[in-house]
């Protein structure tokens, strides 16, 4: 049998998530949270309720993703006529007008990245719950991807912000934000929180040969 790798948890140590100081896991008095003696951040061996929280946020983001794509994100009002645009219709507009690179940027940032992130997190959650032994290093990499790409989905929200600020020509042309923008901003923020609440150390906990959790203080 492989010797168990020495993790902070198996040595009854807790690594402070903020300043990385290792602290002895001592049982805190009831009702009192253990805090890092150096920086004062709350100590926990693993992110609290990581799986349940991440699931809740992922499901919420999946639900928000639908209105974010179906409802209009911008409304162009020109000579009293309103034209509503969704995210996809914006992409199609750029493809038709020949601005391929811009169409690609919007498609990747607004459609592909949020979905990729949600599916990756779902996969990671299921694999952790099944105590999967499959390629932990690569799964940790996938987690890093979900953390790094999330912010780029804000692009479309910023495009709307700038369009709304610039195009105010009264009856000639005005651009307004549509309800889709609220849901889309929701998707981006919720998925960022979801990635933050997932604890990649859970991937590695399943790799310990005798997978009995040490007594938690």
């Amino acid at each position: 049998m492989k010797p168990s790798p020495l993790t902070a948890m198996s040595a009854s140590l807790i690594s402070c998530h903020s300043c990385h100081l290792l602290c002895k896991a001592v049982s805190a008095a009831k009702g009192l949270a253990a805090v890092c003696p150096r920086c004062g951040a709350r100590l926990h061996s693993r992110k609290p309720n990581s799986i349940a929280r991440t699931w809740a946020l992922v499901i919420a983001a999946f639900i928000f993703y639908i209105p974010a794509n179906v409802l209009p994100i911008t409304k162009v009002i020109s000579f009293g006529k309103a034209q509503a645009d969704t995210i996809m219709s914006g992409v199609i507009y750029f493809v038709k007008s020949g601005s391929w690179p811009i169409a690609l940027v919007i498609f990747v940032a607004s459609v592909f990245v949020p979905l990729l992130k949600l599916f990756l997190l779902t996969f990671l959650l299921i694999s952790v719950q099944r105590k999967s032994q499959w390629r932990p290093k690569d799964r940790t990499r996938l987690y890093r991807i979900t953390e790094a790409v999330g912010r780029w989905s804000m692009t479309d929200i910023y495009v709307v912000t700038i369009l709304v600020a610039l195009v105010k020509l009264g009856s000639l042309a005005t651009i307004e934000a549509g309800p889709g923008a609220i849901f889309f901003a929701g998707v981006v923020i919720i998925t960022i929180f979801a990635a933050m609440s997932f604890d990649p150390r859970l991937i590695w906990d399943a790799q310990e040969p005798n997978n009995e959790r040490r007594k938690q203080p």
């Binding site: 912010r151 369009l163 007594k215």
Partner: protein, 228 residues
């Protein structure tokens, strides 16, 4: 349980670093400072001195454990001061100007936020305000409050809380993403009207690089160590 911990930690300390081997007995706080757990897989490592600009990675999952930066605090302080000046310019001067024949629409960085708020999109307005103005400002000014006293050899006010907050603000500043947004919006409007970049836009672009450089120059461990 305490005994178990001592044996485990002692064994890796003695395996990794013979110098501390003599130091038998209980594991003390002092000994724990030599160790670091990987924040992504929890594996324990011995902290070792790195060459300048070196990076220590986890041997199991490859996460970056710690880095050593040359002259970290001075560089970060210089970049933070520069960043604050650019931040003021980026907010005070015209950002983009939209011109269609005789109609001229001049905007600032905050105009879009105000306009979204007026249209009842206060959630979206709030998100944009936080990610492009409030968080970068808090991060820059927080760093200043941390670094200036340290440079004057004084204990900064509430250093632990302040630096912890500064670190948590970082992922929420999204100025570089805003830049992509500007690019897309400009391409969208360029056929319809003339888009004139203002002084603030240039300051904003430089600020993005300054923030990235400051993030790369910062060695947070130096600041945490002052609390020991």
């Amino acid at each position: 349980m305490a005994n178990n911990l001592d044996v485990l930690v002692q064994s890796i300390i003695s395996a990794c670093c013979p110098v501390i081997k003599k130091n038998t007995g209980f594991v003390r706080m002092k000994d724990l400072k030599f160790l670091i757990a990987c924040h992504e897989c929890d594996l324990l490592h011995l902290r070792r001195p790195l060459p300048p600009d070196g990076t220590a990675r986890c041997i199991r999952c490859g996460a970056v454990l710690y880095k050593r930066k040359r002259n970290s605090l001075n560089r970060v302080l210089a970049l933070t001061v520069t960043g604050l000046v650019l931040f003021i310019i980026a907010n005070a001067y015209p950002f983009l100007t939209f011109r269609l024949e005789a109609q001229v629409q001049e905007t600032n960085l905050i105009t879009g936020v105000i306009e979204l708020y007026r249209q009842g999109m206060w959630i979206v307005a709030g998100v944009v305000l936080l990610t492009t103005i409030v968080m970068p400002l808090l991060e820059l000014s927080g760093m200043l409050f941390v670094l200036v006293p340290l440079k004057m050899r004084r204990q900064p006010w509430k250093l632990a809380l302040l630096f912890r907050s500064v670190r948590s603000f970082r992922p929420w500043g999204m100025m570089e993403v805003f830049m992509i947004g500007i690019l897309v919006a400009a391409v969208k409007l360029v056929k319809m009207a003339q888009i004139i970049p203002g002084m603030a836009l240039y300051a904003f672009m430089i600020l993005i690089f300054i923030l990235a450089a400051s993030a790369a120059a910062l060695d947070p461990h130096i600041i945490w160590k002052t609390l020991d």
